[in-house]
Symmetry: C2
């Protein structure tokens, strides 16, 4: 599939130099298996910063970036609603693609992307997502090994300040992919599907959009049934009150140490801002605006997860797995580093250099997206929703 | 309704001197508002112990106890399946009744008990239950006050060793009230209903009966919708692996301090025992068998509970309420003591001396029981179950 030697770094072009890209910088910088050679972005400021920092070529559009013969694979980190067009463009140009979660907002877009990947000889990977987190992978492998018996029940929950981080207006409109479903629930769904083998069958859920000033879903609870007979209970709140990271060793989602004295910080920062000022505040957090990188010291996570198996419950923590067995309790350490998100690069290198698909393919990402829509649909109808587009571990 | 002066202790007759009674002894002993004057139990050993400890009269049957004119109120602490007959007998004899949760196993029995209470001039109280726990009451009052805005979402979960405590054989048969639904879920349902105002409308749930050696439900997850628009997510496991008391200040359900070194104790104690030996082991934990009382130092609880309101999330702990507000976090201390379960005595005294019904009436207990059945029914059918017998706060 490729003529490059296996040890050559994957030459990556980045499309979109926003927050998503910034969060990947420590990973790209730390990992010799990948090299940033090009970027496309509309803002001259971020293109200049990229050239200065990485020495690559930049473009103001995806099309010339995809025509760049040095680019082997493209990382799409643009706003959700642009994913479908950008992914199809890159695949059509013969590039492997890594696209941020969610794969898309509409199922029609996801279908188009999966079809484009199938029609090409290239890989489509949906990530980063917290299903790549090393403790999640370790738990999935322990479950698959059979050592702790059958998986029966998963509980996953997360209480964050997501809804009060600075937003562009469309990020607060559900139909454009705003709110917690497409940005946050998608992680939890991905994690739970990774542990349960991927094939969900039915979803029942309730959602809440309780702040009239930010009129999109900010919380939900869902029950998900899986084809293997297991089930999962998911709860998420982005309303910035209780912070469940106290039950994750005071480590934040991005592996950073959290400061308990910062309570209420997200809401305080927004006080008195109108939509324009808030969008400007968001802009200061993007690449090339002088914002600092997150200093991760631990594995990333997406809130407490407990996986009940016949012979042990597994509790995922940033440091590894707490394995509560029949008679004994043990801790399986899952080392961090040197940077977060190494497994995303594993997946990219595996796909580009060894033609090996990760769990998180386009079809996988579409299956997680289907559950986001099922949550909205079930909450609206009060009825369970049967799933049609699920995907197991390949 | 009564000719006794308000300050006279309520003269209580106890029916059933088993584990339930033992767990109430510290409360009865510490509270001058109640006096144990009689007991009925089949075992001579426990009757003798009662006479020696409390100086009251004992009977081998409920009928003569209810004919005892000194008895004003009867506490029914017999096995679940006997509650209906015993409660109806006591009400017919003109006694106020406190009956352990669950009110009954079958809805028909619960209907009969509620009708008997309505036909009498006496009060029927279902308790103790963890909805009486002082932090639950404090949270319910804070919510009712409107200070933290509307209640929107509740999450309650609990991971215990319930299924591996020593059992009589019928306690492992669902149709006789065995398993976690009628003994454990009922608490969680009671707590959640207390916070949400009581009127549930619809339940969707999944259950698990995963140990063939103990073939009854050991775990469940449920979503419950309420008439006020709020919803709750409940998860329970009695499979004795992860213990969620680590997230409750290492305080156990009964307010006792837990010893982390005792991991696996419940399963270890059962290893190699047949059903008969296990029932004998259970017997050693009952009243008059020399078993010690639980030493509570904190409020009782039933696992982590988070109540999301518009302007704060409330996290219930054994010490009180952690109130996570918009900008500030504060802790509302809820003092313990002198013994657990004082609010159960408040309810009893209020009913007997002041003709005041607590939240936890017979109709209330029947509404919680309805949800236990709805959980089983929804798990079997895969469909939501609409509720018909719910009851608000009186």
């Amino acid at each position: 599939m490729t003529s490059e030697p296996a040890q050559m770094p994957v030459r990556l072009g980045v499309v979109g130099l926003g927050r998503g890209f910034m969060l990947m910088i420590p990973t790209f910088t730390a990992d010799p298996r990948v090299k940033l050679v090009a970027a496309a972005a509309p803002r001259a400021e971020s293109r200049a910063a990229f050239e200065a920092e990485f020495g690559g070529r930049t473009y103001d559009d995806i099309v010339p970036l995809c025509a760049d013969p040095e680019v082997e694979a493209v990382y799409i980190a643009t706003p959700h609603q642009m994913h479908a067009d950008h992914v199809c463009t890159a695949l059509a140009a013969g590039k492997h693609v890594l696209v941020d979660k969610p794969i898309a907002i509409s199922m029609a877009d996801a279908d188009r992307m999966v079809a484009a990947a199938e029609a090409s000889s290239k890989h489509l990977i949906v990530g980063p997502s917290h299903s790549f987190d090393p403790p999640v992978e370790a738990a999935a492998r322990l479950i698959e090994s059979g050592e702790v018996g059958s998986l029966r029940m998963i509980q996953a929950f997360n209480y964050t300040d997501f809804l009060y981080r600075p937003r562009r207006p469309e990020e607060l409109r559900t139909e454009e992919g705003g709110g917690i479903l497409f940005s946050q629930a998608i992680h939890q769904i991905d994690v739970v599907r990774r542990l349960a083998g991927g094939l969900a069958t039915r979803v029942t859920a309730m959602t809440g959009a309780w702040d009239p000033a930010r009129p999109t879903e900010g919380a939900f609870s869902a029950l998900i049934a899986f084809a293997n007979g297991s089930f999962a209970s998911l709860t998420y709140s982005g309303y910035a009150h209780f912070d469940s990271d106290v039950w994750m060793d005071n480590v934040g989602e991005l592996g950073q140490r959290k400061d308990p004295a910062a309570y209420g910080k997200a809401r305080r920062a927004l006080q008195g801002l109108d939509a324009e000022a808030e969008a400007a505040l968001k802009q200061t957090r993007t690449y090339g605006s002088g914002a600092g990188l997150i200093e991760a010291e631990n594995n990333e996570h997406f809130g407490p997860v407990i996986a009940l198996c016949d012979r042990a419950d597994l509790r995922l923590t940033p440091a590894g797995l707490d394995v509560f067995g029949d008679i004994e309790r043990r801790f399986v350490e899952v080392p961090f580093g040197p940077a977060p998100r190494g497994p995303v690069i594993d997946a990219l290198v595996g796909a580009v250099r060894e033609d090996r698909a990760p769990a998180q393919t386009g079809a996988w990402g579409r299956a997680s997206l289907e559950i986001c829509h099922a949550i909205l649909e079930s909450a609206a109808s009060g009825q369970p929703v049967d799933l049609q587009r699920q995907c197991g571990i390949t």
